[in-house]
């Protein structure tokens, strides 16, 4: 088992390392061969490094960190993601739970849930911008909407999938409705709620980047990309993209960790890693 993991890790490092080296070579060759003048819509863009070599990426990273632009952008975007996640889950999870437990509520809400499920959250951006302005509120509400739909469906399905035998066992042991909800339904549905939260977190990042690209009033990662794209400064774009990627990766790892802790009681087939 241990040797298996060591081989996996070794191969992972090897392939990621190979990719990094390949990029290094490509960028060195590219900086000599690729055009630095690019025709774009109506005019030439000057001095574009299509494949910035590691040197410029490093310089750019150092500059963005030292100037405080990158740390501040990361902070602002991450805060938006988590505020939206908290708000959306606070609405979605209880709604999903009660929909699964109350048949009449389910019938009443069903058409609306279906409606929001197939409405791309991003399409709401112009409406939210109109209602709540272009500031912080509309961005957070947009993320919250995307998160609420996903977590609602997760919580609903989680409760629906609780095996009937657990509910009957609890009932025959004399458990009240409240106790069944707290000790049976909630823990049994928790794994699905956590996996829906993980998906929602990914969606939240997608949403925040677009919301920030379209209109940003503060330094943020999407704004950084938009600004760098307008000049254009490829090293800045690259650093921005990599930063977002790493943040998404880190968030996903944390979500996966939470999931593992919340489901440590579950039987796991050895194939799953």
């Amino acid at each position: 088992m241990n040797g298996l993991w060591r081989r996996r890790l070794w191969r992972a490092l090897l392939s990621v390392g190979a990719l990094a080296v390949l990029y290094g070579i490509a960028s060195e060759i590219g900086s000599a061969l690729l055009p630095r003048r690019i025709w774009m819509v109506a005019h030439y863009l000057e001095d574009v490094e299509l494949l910035p070599p590691y040197r410029s990426l490093l310089e750019e990273t150092v500059f963005l960190i030292q100037s405080g632009i990158l740390p501040r952008s990361v902070l602002v975007s991450t805060a938006r993601v988590f505020e939206g996640l908290a708000l959306g889950a606070a609405v979605g999870v209880p709604l999903g739970l009660s929909m699964a437990r109350a048949a009449r509520l389910e019938c009443l809400l069903d058409p609306w849930v279906t409606f929001f499920r197939f409405t791309p959250a991003l399409a709401l951006l112009p409406l939210y911008a109109l209602w709540f302005g272009l500031g912080e509120l509309s961005k957070i509400l947009l993320i919250a909407t995307a998160v609420a739909v996903v977590t609602l469906l997760g919580a609903y399905q989680g409760v629906r999938d609780v095996p009937r035998v657990y509910l009957e066992a609890a009932k025959s042991l004399g458990a009240s409705k409240g106790l069944i909800l707290r000790k049976i339904v909630w823990p049994a549905a928790l794994p699905q709620i956590f996996s829906s939260l993980r998906i929602a977190l990914g969606l939240a990042w997608v949403t925040v980047v677009v919301a920030e690209l379209i209109k940003a009033t503060m330094p943020s990662l999407g704004y950084l990309l938009a600004l760098a794209g307008a000049y254009p400064r490829v090293p800045t774009i690259a650093v921005g993209i990599v930063t977002i990627g790493l943040l998404v990766l880190a968030c996903d790892a944390v979500a996966l960790g939470c999931y593992a802790v919340a489901t440590r009681w579950m039987k796991r087939s050895p194939a799953h890693a």
């Binding site: 299509l50 009443l108 197939f118 409405t119 790493l246 087939s269």
Partner: protein
Amino acid sequence: MRPAEAARPPKARRVWLGLASVVALVAAYTLLSNAYRVVDPSLLPDPIRGVLRPQILPPTQRIFDAFVQLVGAGASPVGGAYVHTGDHIGGLVEQRVTLQGSLLISTYRVLIGIAVGGSLGVLAGLLMGWSRAVDEYAHPIYILFRSIPPLALITYVMLWLGHGTAHVLLPIIYAVFTVVVIPTYHGVRDVADIYVKAARALGAGGRLLLSRVVLPAAGPFVLSGLRYALIIAWMTTVGVEMLMADEGIGYLLIGGGMWSSRLEVAGDPAVIVVGIVALALVGYAMDAGVRVAGDRLTEWVKR
């Protein structure tokens, strides 16, 4: 194990309740959005006065008018180049941007994304699920790329591909690709595995194994992956179109402008609501299509 099928009301009652809830909410909205005609808004306390304006809550009949105008926009006598009127619907009508035309273009983009990204994703998932070596080398790279939101790539991709068709399609293809890989991968690795072993023991191999065992066994997973991919494809398409396309439903929603100045055109909530409802309906229809087709393709699955 049997899931907890709580006492659900019969289907007729469910439909009736759902319909009642839609009708009730639309009626309530109609009353609320028309309140400004009856009550002088300036007499109302501040937060309510802010909300009960037709610029914020478009009256239901205005939404319907917008729908009619957008559907008929193609036949409008004036046409030609975009004139910045600062008026959402006026601008769209002048450019002959119709609702159905925009939906068609967006649907086309979504379908291209599903076709190209989906096949690449299924291929990658098959390879990774089939071969442990491929999995161990390629999976980490896949995870790195999956972490990058497709729309974050837009500014960079534009430099390579210019401002054109490929540039709009690439993020959609990319998004679909990343979504389809994992379900296919799990279907092949965790589900098909035992049947592959059984088929091998029976002497099957090569193309027979792939077409008769692996693909059918992984099929239901691929299909559920595709259904999720549809949602993601629509989301990405709308995002790209809002950011930089000159046509499509995302463009209709945002009403012109360019790049980060796009939202400076004062949006017309009636147009936006029409666009959103149309999106939801098309999304639902496409999902239903995949679901029905999928059920027929995988009839053997116990449900």
